[in-house]
Assembly symmetry: C2
Homo-oligomer: 573 residues x 2
């Protein structure tokens, strides 16, 4: 039977770093060649990183991306990898405009270029803004095997290029992807790839990007599925990985260029002879998807680590309040960067409880973080006395004084400040702008409060299972949450019980459900009114919050864009 060894290069590019990404491609292709691969497939736009946003409009950037292809082809040949058919993604630009493109490189040349056909323009995607769609399909024959390609969204839409390839006839389809992580997305991905392989009548090789880019994180989860729908190989999530798989293929000797439903199929023969039979690799890697908690935790760790490192920082600083949010952020930061790169600051005011400081110090010891105490009492006092502050103004100045203190330490020592707020707080605006919202990144911005607690327990349990010290103090998990900005204040004074609140928010924010639906779901009208009013008023605060790793469909900021000036009020019909 015709054979071919395929490598999927699940790599972590950096947006804009064309030189670095090119070097990575050379290195990983060399590794693929060493592993005996005949084909290697990189992710979508692997030369530029994804998404490039408005960099797509910069002519010099598109030119650099195009030029990098020829250079890459030469360097691959120089590195002795010219015989490996290498699929990479890049930004192209022609008379119609920018293009999301992929190319196949072989023996020092670019042998095929293809533009993405389907441009997603929902959720986090704005591709109609950036790209013009393609209508061509490039099929190359390598060792007698006809290989077609499609790019990312091309496999998410019914009909289109995959079905055209199926009709035209191919023996294998490769698909470079940059498909952002979303909770339980792997449950959609595998069945989809299975369906498309059946449509193509050929095995499908799906390579996905891995790593963080601003508020997006890519989980990898690259996979290979046979024409019969059998899962042949699967890479682990959230790590760079070279997945190598041997495939038994058909060699249909498909022929004919031509038009199919508006798409043009072009064929090019690189080598017509089948490979001599060789002993295949045994036991291909078929990684199990992570558990829900492990998956979310990994997404948050990788999103945080890449944001910090790719922006040129190595360490982070933030308030250790003794509460659950900062404790979970600290555990994430220690997992992402190492405890020695985490700087915790306890910033007690006159309203801070003694357990706050104890729990904060305990946290720092558990994760091996740096720790200092900087009371804010003296700063707060000057404001309160000079301006005669009371009420909300006095509460806010405490939070703001802490924000300014952290920024000052960041300016002195070069640490990136983290904002430790969670999605529930952001949703209802239970946060002080320029206070706890200060920072360059917000690791748990897209995690509801009840989920924060779940993750804390899960992470501690994992540590216990491995015989390690649980990172999060038990007291931070169990005590009632409080902002401690006024005497005896607890969150429950201002907000419904978090379990109830998160249920409503899940329906109202994630589900975009209306008042009547919420009543039908059994929530009390007064609670609905209260929550909905808080959510609708908080858009400005949400927009001012730093970016943070997206893990849900409706992450604030990137996925949900409401007007600030907005008089709409959800209410009884």
């Amino acid at each position: 039977m015709p054979q071919l060894r395929i490598a999927l290069a699940q790599v972590n590019p950096t947006v804009g770093d064309i030189d670095g990404n090119t070097a990575r491609t050379v290195e990983w292709t060399r590794r693929a060649a060493e592993a005996g691969a005949h084909v290697v497939v990189f992710p979508e736009m692997s030369q530029t990183g994804y998404p490039v946003e408005d960099l797509a409009f910069r002519a010099t950037f598109a030119q650099a991306s195009r030029n990098s292809l020829d250079e890459l082809a030469r360097r691959l040949a120089d590195a002795g990898c010219g015989e490996v058919l290498t699929y990479v993604g890049y930004l192209d630009h022609d008379e119609a405009g920018p293009r999301d493109a992929a190319a196949a490189l072989f023996r020092g040349e670019v042998v095929a270029k293809q533009y993405k056909h389907h441009l997603p323009n929902y959720g986090v995607f704005d591709e109609h803004r950036y790209f013009k769609p393609g209508t061509e399909l490039q099929v190359v024959r390598l060792h007698g095997i006809d290989i077609g390609m499609v790019i990312c969204e091309d496999i998410w839409q019914d009909g289109g290029p995959i079905s055209a390839l199926g009709k035209a006839g191919v023996d294998l389809v490769v698909a470079p992807n940059a498909s952002p992580y979303e909770r339980s997305k792997d449950e959609q991905r595998l069945p989809l790839v299975v369906r498309r392989a059946a449509e193509a009548g050929a095995p499908l090789v799906y390579t996905n990007q891995v790593g963080g880019q601003d508020d997006l994180v890519f989980d990898g989860d690259s996979l290979v599925v046979g024409a019969d729908g059998k899962l042949l190989a699967r890479a682990p999530q959230f790590v760079e990985h070279l997945l190598v798989v041997d495939m038994d293929l058909t060699s249909g000797g498909h022929a004919g260029d031509g038009a199919l439903a508006g798409l043009h199929v072009h064929r090019r023969v690189l080598s017509a002879e089948l490979l001599p039979a060789y002993p295949p690799l045994t036991d291909p890697v078929i990684s199990e998807p992570l558990s829900d908690e492990a998956e979310v935790w990994s997404a948050l760790v990788v999103g945080l680590r890449d944001y910090v490192h790719k922006n040129g920082f190595s360490s982070v600083i933030f308030g250790f309040s003794g509460g659950i949010d900062s404790a979970v952020c600290a555990a994430l930061a220690a997992d992402a960067l190492g405890g020695d790169n985490v700087y915790g600051v306890s910033m007690p005011s006159r309203y801070s409880s003694s357990h706050s400081k104890d729990d904060a110090a305990d946290l720092a010891r558990r994760i091996g973080a740096h720790y200092r105490e900087e009371p804010v009492e003296d700063m707060v006092k000057v404001y309160v006395e000079q301006l005669a502050l009371t009420g909300l103004a006095e509460e806010n100045i405490q939070a703001r004084t802490r924000g300014m203190l952290l920024m000052a330490l960041s300016n002195l020592d070069g640490h990136l400040v983290l904002a430790t707020g969670n999605k529930t707080e952001l949703a209802v605006g239970y946060s002080t702008i320029y206070g706890d919202a200060v920072g360059g990144f917000a690791p748990i911005k897209d995690v509801f409060k009840t989920h924060v607690w779940q993750l804390a327990r899960w992470r501690n349990d994992e540590a216990a299972k491995r015989g390690e010290t649980p990172p999060i103090p038990e007291n931070s998990i169990t005590k009632p949450p409080s902002a401690e900005l006024a005497p005896g204040q607890v969150d429950a004074d201002s907000l419904p019980d978090y379990a109830l609140l998160d249920d409503i928010l899940d329906d109202y924010v994630e589900g975009d459900r209306g008042y009547a639906d919420l009543v039908a779901a059994g929530f009390e009208p007064e609670t609905i009114d209260r929550v909905v009013r808080m959510v609708d008023r908080a858009e400005y605060k949400r927009r001012q919050y730093p970016p943070g790793t997206k893990i849900t469909f409706k992450a604030f900021g990137r996925d949900r864009r409401l007007p600030i000036t907005n008089a709409w009020r959800e209410r009884k019909a």
Copy 2:
């Protein structure tokens, strides 16, 4: 000759306020009826305001918008306006998804509904995210006149609905618009409408929204052009206006529904008989476009006023530094809200010059603003001593202390804080996050520094012409700009000369030009390197800046969306 009196209702709706917008439509239609109009045309999505952003996905909102049409039709009939054919815009939703729609109401009923065909997805527009395109065209015959409609972008694209209407045959085309202001846009708009009227072979009635919505401002500039390209009427910019015009029309008796290039034309007869001849109105209003400075100033005033009022505020507070930026913001705020709603705070530090305080106090007197002095010395001292701050950390804490002080006063007294930074500072990141970037709105965010000076001189000259006190102290215009965060500091220590800097920024930011283009334009390579590096590093700061009125094509925030994590560096090829 067949006659018809048309009213263009150039109104200022509020996004989300369907009830208020409906009431406005009734009121303005009543006024149109009183003026004897047979047809009144409101702007695009006049029932919901434009743009609604992700509110488009909220089923209850779309339902409320749809329901408001029937209610509006009834209320118009009840108000005695049933005989006025009323075109309004609204958000529709059918099985395909949300629709940007317009409807014609007559005698208590909705007699025609049409969806926008061309969905803009560039610059500030993301309509492929929100809407599905329409393919139907509704032509109604009123008093023997066949009236077709198109929506906004439908007239900006060649071919499509206008040319289909031309082929099908109509006597008049009405076009509801929400076309945001951009400097000198009126120079594009009139020639475009002239061209489309020729294509349609019929006069074109173009009604545009007026007023501010977050960072967008709509200038109105509604107009009527004859089939021969003659400008028949034009509304003044930046104010609500009912433009009434009498038209001599053809009455082609066009017939036949049918398909034209994928578009379906539907016809409905409301009344076939021509109107008895009546004496037309003489001297239709043909407003002159404003001068460039007056236009920009009006855009900034209206953008600021509507942001403040539509968000429920009536007054603003910000730092009066004695410099040009805060002086221009103060003059804008006084023009927008009245001097009595402007609260200036001088916040001297040890590095503040005495002229800063004098100029600030002079500014307040000139515009009739409230004024107080709040030294920040005591607050700064606590931070500097407790944390041993030096250098940048010490500079920043001064700016941040001022930001916190303003927020505290805002929390006490309910004024909206304004950030007074200009586009040049934002471009190069010459701004302190959580310092001078604090605020809910940034009036001159999209105005380059050299343009700020121009506007200041123009505004003072206008005052002098009218025999009023020029609002801006001459000294604020003429002295060298300084942040005054260190002894003897001036902007020129950190930045190239503003005239040079703005020239480079205009090419690099507005023109998206590359390194080689900048060299070819005659800029020195070292200066280019320096500016480009500053711009490319400042994206996070720009994102944290409050919204502000957009006046250029590439306003930061809304029009230009670069990755924060971005390793691309513009450089020699």
